[in-house]
Amino acid sequence: MKIVVVALATVEPDQFFQSSLMRRRCDIDDFRALKRTAKFTSSLRDDLCATFNYMQFLESNLLTILILLPVIGGIGIGLHSVFAPYRDEKQYKWIALAVTVVTFAVSLILLSGADNSELSTFRFEQNVPWINALDTRYHIGIDGISLWLVLLTTLIMPIAVLSSWTAIEERQPSYYIFILLLEAAMIGVFVALDLLVFYLFFEASLVPMFFLIGIWGGKKRIYAAVKFFIYTAIGSLLMLAGIIALYYSFGTFDYPTILRAMNDGSVVLSVATERLIFGAFALAFLIKVPLFPFHTWLPDAHTEAPTAGSVILAAILLKLGTYGLMRFNFPLFPAASRYFAPLIITLAIIGIIYGALVAMVQPDVKRLVAYSSVSHMGFVVLGLFSFTDYGMQGALYQMLNHGVSTGALFLLVGMIYERRHTREISEYGGLVKPMPLFSTLFVFASLSSVGLPFLNGFVGEFLIMMGMWNSTYQYAWVATMFAATGVIWAAVYMLWMLQRVLFGRITNEANRRLPDLNFREIGLLAPLLILMVVMGVYPNAFLVRTRDSIEQVRVRVASPQGGGTLRYAENVTGSPQTRIEQRP
């Protein structure tokens, strides 16, 4: 925390200390000390700036830095463990924690100046040629759609590292290397604006996860890991084919360039081609989501993965799918998106109810939460394909909510797993007596997942249902009514689980003396719990930044002529080549 404050103070000392907010927060001694430190660091900054404008450097390379920080951390751990290993490999988690925390702190700069208007185009853009033979460019940038997802990623990762603190005892260096590489890949996915770069990051996120499940997972980890890998690899191979098909049509992998060509009408995909490529992309993303009936990898992967793996999987990796739909499928293939929407909406609604019903009867806590993810992600897909502002904003918000709530639930489940080494609901019961704090937080996270108003889940679900209701499909209201039963089922399976795990008499003597949460566990849950309240009570802070970006996608995908324009496809002056040449 202090580091962040000092960093802020260093960057803009004058504004920072003039802000009355800061004055109120610090007591006077702290304030003076801070001011001294800041004076020192800012003079240091001035010295640095004399030779090298690092703010400009930071701003123009911020996303690359975000991607590279974890990679460097991972390489660092790797080199250290090979050449100068600690006697106790438990030290490596500290490096991982430091790296993820720093990455999170740096990622907060993304919020700077990010008011509504600036997010209608890509910010922090970087666009350099990469493989000229393939006309591939290293093109990255964020807008309102990816902003919060990147921040969610960088927030979840330190929490994931902390949750592995005592749970992971074997091969710690490689474990944390995989975690850090995974973080880099996931950030890369959210910021990539070149289809090939996107694909590489998309695939790259698969590999560390595969190993996390396969090496540190539960009893059936090999089966789960292979199933996870094959399922998603099949999807992404199809996407690769789609990307290549686009390349042959447009002669580039660059996403804005392709959009521009579509806008100009210089390249027109035939209806059949558009649908085919849409299908290739959509299948990859819908498997990742996962949409019913492509979901059966999820319960196995979630259940067998170590806690951190489940958390990352639920909180971030699933969002890769819905993010891909919103980022690529809708703007690139608007007509095909509309064509397939009724089918996908039907599957989403089936998924909402089906996921909930199956979750209800699971005897395994983790599996229950996993199936609840199927239900919740069904809501997200529903909102996306409503093609309304309510629905799509709600869907993006629900992605974040699901990350926070389900992430917290997996963490909590992991905590009792670590104590009892069982996931069977019937093994528990009456935990509220030995673990009152755990029980309170578990109830809290469950209520957020159930969608209690003033907690985060409600906002997303409500907006999604409104969006569906307001969509132009026939019988949209019937669909909404079915989808809305999801809120009932959610209460049924969560409360039933809570009752069997937390309440009642202690039936198993092993539960009688369980220790309650320790400071580390409270600390790693706290940010998520605070977010649940903040996101539930003041969602506007989030919605305002996503509005413009989503509205552009919506207008493009919802207008019947397949028209509509994306500002970031228009505003770019000149071709990418000319822009790059202007750079030193």
């Binding site: 493989i131 695939e203 396969g214 108003p453 506007n540």
Partner: protein, 788 residues
Amino acid sequence: MTNHWLSLIVAAPLIGAVINWLVGRRVRSEAFIGFVACASIGVSTVIAFILAFTDNNGAGAALFSEPARPVMSHLWTWMEVGNFRADVGFAMDRLSGIYVCFVTFVGLLIHIFATGYMHGDKSYYRFFAYLNLFMFMMLTLVLGDNLLLMFVGWEGVGLCSYLLIGYYVDRKEAGDAAKKAFIANRVGDWGVILGIMFVFFITAAAGAPSISFFEKTDLTNLVGNQVPAMTNAFATIATMAVDPFTINALIAGGLTSAAILLFIGATGKSAQIPLFVWLPDAMAGPTPVSALIHAATMVTAGVYMIVRCSELYVRAPTAMAIIAVIGAATALLAATIGLAQNDIKKVLAYSTVSQLGYMMLACGVGAFSAAIFHVMTHAFFKALLFLGSGSVIHGMHHEQDMRRMGGLKKYMPITFATMLTGWLAISGIPIFAGFWSKDEILYKTFSTQSNSFGLILWFVGLCTAVITAIYMTRLMVMTFWGTERFAEAHAGGQGDEAHAQAFADKKTTAHDAQTATIDDRQHHSPDEHVGAATSHASHQVHAVHDEHDDEDAHEHHGLAHGQKPHESPLVMTLPLIILAVLSVFGGLLGAPYALSLGAIDNPFHHTLEPVIAHEPNFVGGAANGADDAHGSPATTETHSAPVSANEHEGVPHGEGATAAHTPEEIFTERVLAGVSILLAAFGIGLGWTYFQRRPLAQMPRLLENKYYVDEIYDATIIEPIKDGSRVGLWRILDVGVIDGIVNGVGTVAREAGNGARQLQPGFVRSYAAIILLGALLVIGYFAAALAR
């Protein structure tokens, strides 16, 4: 007009809850916790009464300002997407003003009572934190200035109800009841969410998208910024035509659909058919909770919502008819079940369901002010009865079975005297509060013009009134008169509510009741029991708590040998006395012209009138224009006070009828009142003569088992869903079909690759290694390309 003190009404209980949760849990001082809890509600109460009754900022009191203008406090915009906006802002108009006053006041009394009742409880702080949280949510519900914020309170009270029903966390039946309550409410909430969307899209189609109850203009938020204007959704609805009275209107997607969806929510929260089953089970919570949440405040939220949305309902005659029928049916059904229950709280629970049915009936026939009036008087006398029963249970050391009571009036004179007034009030004896409100509902039902079967509904209501008098008399007789059965009952077995229930359901012998508690017993040694018993005798109160180990601290066991029931301490009897006074005189606020012989002209009704809707079809041609005048606080602002006064004297319309007092109407009202007084007296007489002689008479099994509704729901809905999900969806579809296909494809691929098998060692980890190698090669290739 802006007045941010309003927000403190809502915030104070939240602050109290937070203090008790964070500080109280460490302090562990009952005095501190009780003080924080009561003081926070006290602050709310004082501010609520000041805002409601005094002229603040020269703008007039919330209850009496002319023209009717709400006091408002806008805090921040909650969510804003497209043309949809929901605020976090509060408003007190005449309706919410009345509501807030009795909610905070009754709430305060119950908090005070609870400090005595919960004395010695292990997690005292938790109880009061929950109770304060509940008050926060309830006040949010009532004061929320738009539908979605009301829904926050709506779900929030449901949550607190869940937490408090399940307060005794290690009792299975408490957990089951809590879950059942939450889920039944969730089924209703499904309707509310959709109803809110419906209202929004209906108003959006009319060009003024809004879910706000009030027009928001010229408001400033906490930091003094201007609040963007907002139209009143129900003023927009008030300009719309009345839906036709057909079944098809229900699914036509118009006003009727919205109305019925919202009503589904009301059936959940206000325990109407078909979702009433949760309320009787909710009695597993501590008794003050039953009084506060499950009698006086939360369960009337459905009525509040319907009255709040009255502009919508008067334009949806089909929905109104359905509400009236369901209300009447619920009233009768619950009253008959109440006749046969032996648990004192269960009787009161079914009585609550029955009274809520009356309120719904009133809403359904368009007598909205009568509904709210009954909500208020019911809050007085039902809170009194519940607290009285709490006092009895407390004095009997947590015995709830009336068959083991009897003759208590000698031991608990104050409790007896106060419950006596509650009994007379609910039975409908004149002067007492319940008479005025119940009779107004019956009269309005009889004379309704919104449907053609008012006479039948009136008859049902009348039958219910008789049965109410009978079962309440049975309760009083079994508890306070007759032989003292607690001594002999104790010999049979120690009962807490779980045991009592087993006893009641199975008609088992005492021996069976004991076997049912074997699980509980394992935690006691016989010696402990003796210890407990002697301490009961020596310490007057509650020593019992300390004698048991933690787990069983709240499982009480009735009276020990030779022990006598005792009167409760002052903190418990004082609220009873205050509520008793209100139960006697509170009803005079709404005494109609005809029955008070012209002395009082229903001030309650006249206060509420400007903020509730009237049926537009009664006003004739000028329906919409004239209606607007009464329709909503926003539009009334445009009319000056004399205008509305003129309208009162003018053509009688709908509810305004009493204002005109034609001789025929006065005559009808008096005759009907006479009939109901006679029937109430008959009911009491019948109950008295029958149960005085046979207090333990066997009641019909069908009633005792609650018409087997729970069993029917279990067999037809719950079990099929569970089994279908487990076997059909999970084992067959998920694991069998989908995974079967996936694994099948895998198998085929493996068979096909048999030839290549020699190349591979067969360890999955080596496959992974190969995959990694491939990935590295690809990455390496690109890296090399980049370098070039």
